[in-house]
Every structure is written in structure tokens, then in C-alpha cells.
Amino acid sequence: MPFDQAFALSSVLLATMAFSGLVLAQSVPFWLALPMVIILMISALHAGGVHFIRRAIARVTVSPTMWNILLIGAFALLLIDLTVVSRDLLPAGIHFLVVLLAVKLLTLQQRRDYRHLYAISLMAILASAALTSDAWYVPIFLLYLITAVWTLLLYHMTQETGDTAVGHQTIPIRITRHFFWLTNGTVVLAIALTLAIFFLIPRMGAGVLQKTSGEALRATGFSDRVDLGTIGSVKQDPQIVMRVELPDQPAVDKDRLYLRGLAYDQYNGQSWTHSGTRRRSLSLVAEGTFLVRPAGSRSSNSLSGSVRQDIMLETLDTAVLFAAPFAELVSGEFLEMQADAMGGLRLPASPASRIRYSVISQAPQLAADERMASALDYPDAILAHYLQVPMASQHVADLARRVSIEATTPFERTLAIQQHLLKNYSYSLEADTATLSHPLDEFLFTRKTGYCEHYATAMVVMLRTVGIPARLVTGFLATEWNEYGGYFTVRQRDAHAWVEVYFPHSGWITMDPTPTVSTAISTSRWAPLTRFGESVRLQWDRLFVRYSVKDQLAVVHGVREGTDALRERVSRGVSLLSAPIGQTLSRLMHMVRTFHLGMLELITGVIVVGSALFLLMLRDRIALWATTHLPTSHPELAIVQLYARMLRMMERHGVRKSPAATASEFARLVEQEWKAAAPIVANVTALYHQGRFSQTPLTPGELSRAAEQVGQLQSFTHVVR
């Protein structure tokens, strides 16, 4: 492709990439995007050399005055947009940018116009960066970078070819294979450098003007009052709410994870509420780390192992934080955190943007003695709060007694009620009970279908009627494991309600009466691809969008730890290497380590420097070997390189070839100056003559002979020295 054509095409592509960024950021209305797309297509066809487009455009002549009037008109539109339509600088400015881009694309004639186009494109890609933090920005940015490198190179090269200076070596007017790969190499270098600079550049931003990541998601079921049936409205919503990583846990063991939100203790027959609204501020144990005191009584011997979770929570319209039951420590960039009496975690206000926090939780396990105990001694405070049932629950109480009549212990009664619900009721999202006066009775006795809220409410009420304290918990049940990113994807449809049953020594034990529904998770053949894309998005968000000075410090610490590990490894390697030499050296090393830690580094340094010097000494041998053995695109140059090497050796010995002397004259000079080397020089000179000036190229054998002779000369010079 000719340079000029490639240049015009890459310029249009650059504008296209910038415009795509704006479109994907959903900042360009359709009425503006459509003509712009048409203009881009026409410009691309024009730049691509489509004749009828070129002819058509050549016929249309618009004077510069007209374009200037158009620009003034665009500016007037900006003012109207700013004051009447958008009433916001950013959208109005973006509309103005798009109009400018269109005008410039239609008036690309002089080099100045191209420069203006690049500046507008840069502003557009900047605007799209301001508008989004989504992962689609990755391909757009990469394509923009690639196109920018090509465009800037071609801009420069076309300027050079068009230069009127006395050129003595013309550039090929078409893109050659070499130029193509050179430019692509530059692209790779640019990407590598961009990433390096991005991660290394000091973060000084306070983020005071940082834009929030869009409108907050509406979260259902996490307010102070939850009407029965409200969760059903979101059970089809696939929007992602959070991503949960389990850094310390093997991924394969995690097929489901309960993420606790809020717990409710009062049920009035239609909705659940908290009895106590008092919240306490959590105490800080370290910078950004809060200690959550265990909610309820738990004996230390009944706790299972801790579970650490790294949670990235999308912007929700609730201040509730989610974690696996029960949170012990919470770390994040929060100034304050609160907890209610039932272990629900909250921020002082709903976060304005996506947040990231880590939680260490410890889930209680039911103690064996409580599993077998026929009666449990509940504290009065628990009985006062967690045995409340609505007035009209007699049918429910009868059902509970009937179901658990054969059970002899509270735990067996609990299991019996759970099994009853699991076996005799079917899961359905169509059971809308929000408007009913007795939704629980409707679920248990009439419809016998429902979803998590109905099951959980039924179990809590039934347990309470048989004297077992229980409460309802809302949160999310994560089941969608992303094997590419190693995390759970939690969506709106994963909103869930379950039950916590109280045991005096074990504490609150999580139980779920809702049958497992596998249809919630997509099982299409595209699911792995979707999960992969999801993982890319998470990595993008973590590595780029959320990259902060803390991450930089973490990288520095990582590098330091890596260096320490490497040093340790080197030390071990040195020990291993020194073993064959003898125990003396080992003892010495031990003494060195004992008496002076710095000596270890010194010895390592000496070995490294020694190895480097050894390689330096062998460099001539290595280079000689490489000349004859490594494949090269110019095999005929091998003898020239050997001859040049020989000249350098002779020069080191004091026999210098003057520029005016021919190779034969030099050989005669060597004969006079250094007789011992004369036969070697004569042989190499003869081969040099043959290889360089005759029509018969040297055979590999002859070349090897020449290399051998030069090697001999090298040894000879070393001996003489």
C-alpha cells in the first residue's frame, strides 16, 4: 500500500477508534452517531482509494468560508446544548467534539487538518476515559494506541518524502515488509512501555473529582423492613452485584457461598423488621481494619476455620456490606463502619462508587452435644427476641408440631421442619404474595409453591412455634464460580433468604430450607466464554481502574520479598555449589553468615562478577563460533567478518593495516613485522579474496578453515601477550 494511502487510512481509523470510545460510553445520541458513522465510512472509502467516492467528493467543492461558518454553527450548537438541552458541560462538550470530528473528516486536505484531527481524537478518547471504567475500554484503547503509532509514523514519513530538501536516498513509496514489522515492533514497544509507565507512575490523585461508576443498582431486601415476596422481583435480574474471591481457599471446594446481609427478628405476618435499631461503631484494630464483635454467643471450640474473602461490591443503593457468616475482621478504605445487634454490617452511607473490601469470617459449627441434647437452655434475651410469631399462626404451629412430632431433640425438630419444606414444597418465582394478607398461610397450605423468602419465613415461624429461636437472614447465595478468574460472580438473581437457628453453645447456625435450583445459572455453551469475559473485566478493574498507590506499595513489597527469596535461593545454590569443593568453604560460608551478613552478598557479587569476567574473556571465542555457526541472512559476509576480526587481533598486536593498504599488501607487511603469524594471515587473506571478490563463494568447509585459522591466531596472540 502506498504511504499516502496508508497514512490517510490510519488517520481515519484513529478518528474511528476515538469515536467508538464515545459511542461505547453511551455519550453520543443516535441522531448524532448515525451521520457520524456515515461520514466515517465515506472517509474510510475515500482514504482506501475507492474511485467513485473520490470522484464524487472531488465534485463537491465547499469553500473554506463555508466550513468556517459550519464551525461557528457547531459552536453555537454547543452553547445551546450547554444551556438548554444537556445542561452539562461533559455531554455538551462531547457532542461538540463529535461535530468537530465530522467537520475535520470532511475537510482533510492539508497536514494541519490532520493534526487537528489527531488532537480532536485525543480529546475524544480522553472523554471516553472520563465517562467509563468498563472493560470494553481495553480493546478500544489498544486499537487506539496501535493506530496512533502507525499514524504518527506515517505522518512523519509522508512529511519526509514530501520534503523538498535534497534527498539522496529516497524512501520506498509503498509500505515494505521491513517497514511493516518495524512499525509493529514499535507498537509492541509502545504497549510494553505504556504498561510499565502506568504501573510505575506515582499516584498523586486525591480523586476528589473522580466520577462515580454510574447509577447505583437497586438492591432489594436490605432495608429495615422487608415485605414478603419482594426478593422475587429481582430473581431474574442478571446484573452483577459483587465478585468474591477466596484467596486462601481451594476453588473446587466452593460450590456455594452464603453472603450474609441483614438479619430480621420480627415478623408481623406480612413483613420482616428489626426489633432493635441501635447500631454501634466498630473499633479499628489497624489502619482500615475493623473488628466485628461476634454477634450472639458462640463458644470458641465450635468455630470452624476462618474464610477470607476479597469482595468487590458494585454500586448499590444500600449501605449494607455483605460477607460470609460471621464476619470477624473487615478491611477496606472506610473511615467508619457500623454493626447492628444481629451482626449486619453497614457503612454510614451508601457508597458512591464501586468498593473493595476484605473480610475474615468464621462460621460456627454445631457442637456435638447440642446436636444430641433433648432440651436446650436458651438465654432470656434470646427467647424474648427470637420466639415472636404473628398472631394468626395457629395453623402454622399445628403444622410445625405435626412435622416434628417424632423428633426428640431441638436439632432433630429443626431438621424435620427443614426436610418437610424441602420435600413438600416446590420452588417457583411466579408465587407473588406481596399483596396477600396472609402470605405464609397461602404458601404453606394453599399454593405450596414459593421461593426463598417463603421457605425461610415458614421455617423461622415454624421453629419459633415449637420453641426454637430462629431468625430470617437476607443476602446472596453465590453459586457461579468463575474458574478463569478464581472468584464467585454474584448477581441480583442470587439474592436469597435463609434461616439462622440459635443453639446456646454453638451460636447461630445457618440453615437453608429452600430447594436447590440449578436453572438460575446459565448453562449455555457460551457460558465459559461469558465467564472468561467476566474474569477479564474483573482483572481490568483490579489492575487498571482500581490501581492505586497502595497497589504500587504492594508491588514494591512484592519485589522486595521476591528479591529476598531470590537471594535466599542464590544462597542455597551457592551452598550446593560449594559442597563439592569441600567442607572448608561451607564452614567459611557459615562463618561468614554468622559473623557478617553482608559478606554473603559480597561473595555472591564476586561470583557474579567472576562469571561475567569469564564470559568477557571468552567473548572472542563465542563471537567466532557465532560467525560461522549461527544462521545469517548474509552468509557471504562471514569471511569479511572473520577478516575484520583478524585485523583487530593484528592491531592489538601492533601490526596495523593502513586504510590505503590492500589485503595482499597487509599480508606482506605481516611477513616483515611478525613472521610467525604470516602463514595464517596469508591463508585467511587468500580465503578473503576468494570469498569477497571471486565468483566462487566459499564452501562451509573453507569458512570453517578460515575460522579455525583466526582461532589459532587468537590463541597465538594470547600466548605472545
Partner: protein, 382 residues
């Protein structure tokens, strides 16, 4: 065993260090300035907002700047320059100089090179450009040079500038290729009347010498290589030995041109014109095969003829420098007495760009003295 010379310059380490510290200078192009302003703007926006995507764009733009530095350095590294200059050129005569440029890089070409002559610390653009120099290849460039004044031109080196790859910065690398070029005064046409007068006056100072002609100068024994047509047969028959005849040169006049280098500052332009006049006169005399001698100040070329002798005399003229007159108004080259007509100088022409009357009368003994007024008249058209 031979003792090795300690040649530090040739060691690779020293070459490497020298290469590292080779002089470079960087200037912004207008595009580069705008690019930098955009970069600063995005940097401020990134710091102000803390938006990492702004940092990403900033990193991209900074990477372009770094790449510009790396690739332009690559273009300028391992370039070798060799300048080929003639021994002597004439002022105001365009002369072709050649410059050989070699890219010693093994793999990558050099792009967009523009070469500058570094003369007396200044970069002079001769319009030399190399758009593409493949690896391990050379190119021979030539360019016209018009020297405007006589004397040495000292080429200190070559400056190679490149805008590659993005045209953001103009990086200049300087390479030492010292060379000197001697510029002689220009040759101007003289008035025919003056030249004819000069030659007719000089006839009386002629001395006989062998050369081309018809009159007998001498008879001598034949030497191998002599022209057989010159054998004098009558004498040969008489003496029984091959005798050849030598002829007397028809043009036998010897001329000495004396140039006084004493002149005050205000006489500088006339002095320069006088130097040009002498050069032109010498050229005329050489054209007519006169044995000529030039005396410039205390420098003496000796007698000679032919182009080689003319070049030697032009070198003298190229390097002669004006001297200040002494306090008594007499030239300080009096003691060397080039103006005293000693020995056989033949016809003598003295060129005095400046002299007071007394000094001229006392010091100069020449057949023809050209004083300032005459020189003004003779050189007014130069």
C-alpha cells in the same frame, strides 16, 4: 616478544564510554511542543481526578516520548562519516565536496537523517538528507561549497539530526570529522592593456635559457631518450660522436611579483583586492609560461613555472595576513627587505596596497611599482 602499544582509544570499553557520552542535543518541533502540552494537560487531569484511565492515556503519551528518544538514538548511533575535501579551492568558485555516510548498525536502518556541517561551532544546513540508510550500507553525498573568502575553512564535524519516528523532537548527534580546506583568492580577469604593458616592459630583463625555440643555445652529447630529430649531423660527422643541439627558449623573461602585506585596517578591502589582483596576475604569467617568483611579506616561493608552482603561490596568497604598519609609518617587513632588488629577480613588480610616499621610495626598488591609487583603478571591478 613485541611490546604492545597502549592504545587506549582503541579499547572497546573506552569506545563504549565515549559513545555513551557522545554529544546529543534535543529540540522540540512545533508538533512536539503541542504533544508535550497535551501530555501535561492529561497529566494534570489524571492527578486532579485520580482517574486511572487518564493515567493510562498519560502513560501512552509518555511512552511515545520515550520511544521517540530510543528510536532517534538508534538512528544516530553507529553512524560513520568520512569527508573528502580537495587540497585547495578558489574563493567564489563553487566546489563539490563529498561526504561518505555509513550505517554500522547490524540490523536496523537509520531514517530521516539531515546532515549539518559544523563549521566554527555553527551548524550549517547544506540541504543534505538521507531518508533511509539500510544497515551495513554506505551512501556518498556531494554538495557544492562556495567559499567567500580566502584562508582556511575548518570543518569541525558533522551534525546528524533526525525527526524519526514521530517528528516530535529533533535530535542532533555530533560526530568529529575534522578537516581543513584552504581557499585561495579568486582569479579575476585583468585588463589586457595592463598585461601587455607589463610583458613588453619585461623583455629587457630576459636571460637566455634552454627551451623551445629556433635559436641555437648549446651543443651537447646525445643522451638516450633525446629526440633524434635534434641530432646535429654536421658536428656528429666531425667529432664521430652523436651530438644534439639545444635551442634557446623563445620566452625567457623572469618576473618577480612582490606583495606588501602592510596595510592599516581601513586599507583592508584594498589589501584583499590586491591579493586577488596578484593571484590573477600570477595566473596570467603562468599561462604564458613565465618563470615567476612570488614574495609575500617574508615568504618567498622561489622561481618556477607551471600549474604546480602556481598552486604553491596561491597557497602563499591564501594564507598571507595583513600586518599593521609600524609607528613610523613604514612597513614592518622592511627588514626582510623583499623590496630590495637583490640577486637575479628579473623583472620585478611590486604591489603596495598601502604605503606612504617616503617609505615607498626608500624601501621599494622594483621595475614596476603599483601603488594604492593604481591598484584601486585596476581592481575596482573585482
Amino acid at each position: 616478544m613485541k611490546h604492545l602499544p597502549l592504545n587506549l582509544r582503541a579499547t572497546p570499553a573506552v569506545s563504549f564510554i565515549r559513545g555513551m557520552f557522545r554529544r546529543r542535543s534535543i529540540h522540540f518541533t512545533p508538533e512536539g511542543t503541542r504533544f508535550l502540552l497535551f501530555t501535561l494537560g492529561i497529566g494534570l487531569a489524571a492527578i486532579n481526578t485520580g482517574n486511572n484511565l487518564f493515567y493510562l492515556l498519560l502513560a501512552m503519551m509518555l511512552s511515545f516520548i520515550v520511544i521517540s528518544g530510543l528510536l532517534s538514538e538508534h538512528c544516530l548511533r553507529r553512524l560513520e562519516f568520512h569527508r573528502h575535501v580537495p587540497d585547495l579551492i578558489m574563493a567564489n568558485e563553487p566546489t563539490l565536496l563529498t561526504l561518505s555516510v555509513t550505517n554500522r548498525n547490524k540490523h536496523l536502518p537509520s531514517f530521516s537523517l539531515r546532515l549539518l556541517d559544523v563549521v566554527e561551532g555553527k551548524d550549517i544546513d547544506r540541504g543534505l538528507a538521507i531518508h533511509l540508510l539500510p544497515p551495513q550500507s554506505s551512501v556518498l553525498l556531494s554538495y557544492p561549497l562556495l567559499a567567500t573568502k580566502r584562508g582556511w575553512i575548518r570543518f569541525e564535524g558533522i551534525g546528524a539530526q533526525t525527526l524519526f519516528p514521530f517528528g516530535l523532537f529533533r535530535k542532533i548527534g555530533r560526530y568529529s570529522t575534522e578537516a581543513r580546506l584552504l581557499v585561495s583568492p579568486p582569479i579575476k580577469p585583468l585588463t589586457l592593456r595592463f598585461v601587455d604593458e607589463l610583458f613588453s616592459e619585461g623583455q629587457g630583463e630576459s636571460l637566455s635559457r634552454r627551451g623551445d625555440g629556433t635559436q641555437l643555445y648549446n651543443l651537447r652529447l646525445y643522451h638516450p631518450g633525446d629526440d633524434s630529430r635534434a641530432i646535429h649531423w654536421m658536428t656528429t660527422a666531425r667529432t664521430s660522436q652523436l651530438i644534439v643541439r639545444e635551442t634557446e627558449a623563445e620566452d625567457q623573461r623572469r618576473i618577480t611579483v612582490i606583495l606588501s602585506v602592510v596595510a592599516p585596517e581601513e586599507g583592508g578591502p584594498l589589501f584583499e583586492r590586491s591579493v586577488t589582483f596578484v593571484a590573477s596576475l600570477l595566473w596570467q604569467l603562468t599561462e604564458r609560461a613565465y618563470p615567476v617568483q612570488l614574495i609575500v611579506g617574508s615568504e618567498d616561493s622561489g622561481f618556477g613555472s607551471g600549474p604546480a608552482h602556481l598552486l604553491a603561490m596561491l597557497r602563499l596568497l591564501a594564507l598571507c595576513e595583513r600586518q599593521w604598519p609600524e609607528a613610523d609609518g613604514v612597513g614592518n617587513d622592511r627588514e626582510h627587505s623583499p623590496f630590495n632588488n637583490e640577486g637575479e629577480r628579473g623583472y620585478t613588480v611590486a604591489v603596495l596596497p598601502w604605503s606612504n610616499q617616503a617609505a615607498a621610495t626608500n624601501a621599494v626598488q622594483a621595475d614596476r611599482v603599483l601603488n594604492a591609487a593604481q591598484l584601486e583603478e585596476l581592481t575596482h571591478a573585482f
